[in-house]
Structure formats: C-alpha cells, structure tokens
C-alpha cells in the first residue's frame, strides 16, 4: 500500500456518481500520446473501411463529412484514471458509415495515421455508440488531441478512441491492437475496470 501524500489532492475534488470506479474527474484535457503528432492535411485525408472480400470503401474529407455530422455530449474515461464528464463533440456516427459497408465479420481493427491500432467489436461501434469526431468543445479537433479526425467510443476506455483515425479493417476474430498487445485489456470497459490484460 503506497504512502498517502499529505496535501496531494487528485485533480478535481468532485466525486460524481457518473464516474466509473478508480476514475477522477478533470476539467482539462490531458494529452497522452505514444509518438509524434502526425500533421494531416484535410486535402489528403481519407477514411477507408476494408472488408473480408478485399473491398475498400473510401471517402475523402468532404464526402465523409457529407454522411452527416451530429453533435453529441458524452463522458470520456482514460485508463490513466482521469475522466471528463459531459464533453461536447461533433462527428459522423459510425451507423452512417456502416450503411455503406457489407460485412459478415464481427470485429474491427481501427487504424490511425502514424501506425496506431486498436480493436473494437462491431456491435459496440453501432447503435449510437461511436463516432468519427471532427470537433471537440466546439472547435476543430487539434492535432495533439487526434485531429483532424479521431474515433470516439465513449463507453470504453479512451485508448480505444483512436486518434488520427484513417480507417477501419473488418477482422473475423478479436485481435489485440497496439496497447492490447502491451498489457491493456482486449475489451476495456471502465465500469468493470477492464484496464489490464
């Protein structure tokens, strides 16, 4: 049991019931990254979904955003113990994306510019559970926070919300992505504290 440090308060002092176990509420937005921040020009940005028959559905910046942007307000939970409640975003729901995709595979590997990967079951990306987000807190998403576009899957720990997302790959079975191969949980549910593998 670690020594409690006199006078050291966790950031934020509220204990909100909307916090999953082990989380502390913050008002700011810490930047956590595994590498250099990619700088991606919307002019060259693409989003692809690759399915089992080798089919690639591809959108550019304008055609992807034309699928329909919506505002959404969600709580986000980082495995490093901070949470932000009631954060406002704007993005394309993955339900809109999958209207254009035919697949019998049940799992997804999200890919990012820069090489990051993370896995999510398909049924956890649909039914209003996930978006490709372009704005946060009313502003275009900054590069250090994953802009110009990132995946947002708020019901899972935030490492699953891949920054600089470039596309989704349908896979037949659940497979570990970058952090899942390195000690983090394959699923990542904050409410049952699925942090580690």
């Amino acid at each position: 049991m670690a020594l409690i440090t006199r006078g050291f308060g966790a950031r934020g002092h509220q204990r909100d019931t909307r916090l999953p176990p082990g989380q502390t509420q913050v008002e700011d937005w810490p930047v956590l990254t595994a590498g250099a921040t990619p700088q991606i020009d919307p002019e060259v940005w693409e989003f692809t979904v690759t399915t089992e028959d080798g089919n690639v559905v591809r959108w550019d910046w304008d055609s992807f955003r034309a699928l329909g942007l919506e505002d959404f307000t969600v709580d986000i939970h980082c495995v490093t113990h901070w949470s932000r409640l009631g954060m406002s975003w704007r993005g394309v729901p993955l339900d809109r994306v999958f209207e254009h995709v035919e697949t019998s595979y049940d799992y997804v590997m999200a890919h990012s510019y820069g090489g990051y990967t993370t896995n999510v079951p398909l049924d956890e990306l649909l039914d209003g559970q996930a978006w490709i987000a372009f704005e946060a807190d009313g502003e275009p998403l900054e590069a250090e926070h994953g802009g110009p576009a990132r995946l947002v899957v708020p019901h899972l720990y935030f490492w699953k919300s891949a920054k600089w997302v470039s596309g989704l790959e349908m896979i037949p079975q659940d497979e570990p992505g970058f952090w899942e191969e390195r000690g983090y949980n394959l699923h990542g549910d904050p409410w049952t504290e699925e942090r580690y593998s």
Binding site: A2, L3, I4, T5, R6, G7, F8, G9, A10, R11, R15, G22, T24, D28, H81
Partner: protein, 247 residues
Amino acid sequence: MIPHASWHVATVSDTRQETPNARRIVLEIPDWPGNEAGQHLDIRLTAEDGYQASRSYSIASSGDARSIELAVDRVPSGEVSPFLVDDLMTGDALEVRGPLGGWFVWRPGQSSERPVQLIAGGSGVVPLAAMVRAHRASADATPFRLLYAVRSPDDVFFREELARESDDDGPGAVRVDFVFSRRTPEGFPRPAGRLTRDLLGELVLLPERNPRVYVCGATPFVEQVLSWLRELGHEVDDVRAERFGGS
C-alpha cells in the same frame, strides 16, 4: 557499481525558495545508499482516493550522505511540480525511488585529457550542478565549463555556488558562462537574447579539445543544442543528454 534502485520514504527536512518559481528541497532518507552526480529519483504522490502521479527529478547533490537535495521548478499546468513547490511542507513524507540512471553521470577520476563541457537550459542545471559539486568535492583537476542558458538573473539556480566558482581562479574551478534570454544583470557583456548557434560555438569547448559534453534541459532546448553541436563539428553520438518534461 551503482547501488540498486528501490523505493524509500523520504522526509522533507528543509525547503527554501530558490527562484520565484522554484524551490530547493532537502530530503532525509535513512536507507539511501548514496548517489552519483547526474542521477535522478522518481517521486510518487498518492492521493487519499488512491490516485497516483509520479515524475522524475534530478538530484542536485551526490555522495554517501543520507540527506539529498532537489531543486524543483514549478510548471504551471503540471501535476506534481506545483505540489512540490507550493504545498509540500517540512516534515512531510514522500515516496522516492532511486538512485536512478547510470548513463547521465559524471564520475571523478576519469581521463582528464577530456575536459568537460556542461550545457544547461533553465532547470536543466540541476544534475549539472551535482557534477560541479562532485568535481569540487573530489578536487578533480579536469577542466570544467558550464554554459547556463536562463531567462533572467532571478531564474538562476545555485547562484551563490556558481558565483564562487566564477570567482575562483584555481585550476579546478568551473568556468561559468551565462546566456540570459530575457533580461541580463547590470553590466553584463552581452545583451539579452536567446542562445544561438554562433554564441554556442563561442562559449563551448571546441571539438578539437575532445570534450565530454553533457546537455540537460527541456526537450526543445536539448534538441536544438544537439543539432547546433553537430553543425559545429561535435561528435553528437558521444554527447550525453537528459531531457526534462514540463510537469
């Protein structure tokens, strides 16, 4: 043989303001095995709800003493440094892990054919000050130079000690050169301004002297200095660097 690092409970025995934004902290650690000049320790803070934050800090002292000294700069948006600079009190207990790091270290008694060039950016001076102190304490004859880039005279760490080194004409004394980016002391020979490649070239030992170079500071400072050293003809693979974050 470097002593193995482990967790210790340290008690704050003294604190004093070092600069308007920084504090010197003295820790008593009964089971501290001693540390070399340049080594660091990790401080881990635990809140009542179990939340933990941990950061690395260079040790300003070296040797066998059970009492060690830190000098911590407050990074405004940081998680740990504001607590250490503003809230920590004498008598408080802290968890520390160390001593750590065997690469960014200066040991007395190494070849004095290689003079030593220390380059500090802001609070990067802390491990280099440990080296200066170790050099003096061991009466090592190796020529030592310190280039210290800092915003203003108010931001200088270890001011008195460095002034004593500058006033000392003896062979073992460290030559200290300051570069003030924002404001200089009265009568300072150079106007305020950021370090440049040319100024670096003027103030550091030439590559032909084959210096052992140590650079410490924030990541952008270190990267810039290494890049300039390469352009000035130094063998940068041989330079030892330690990058600080802000927190």
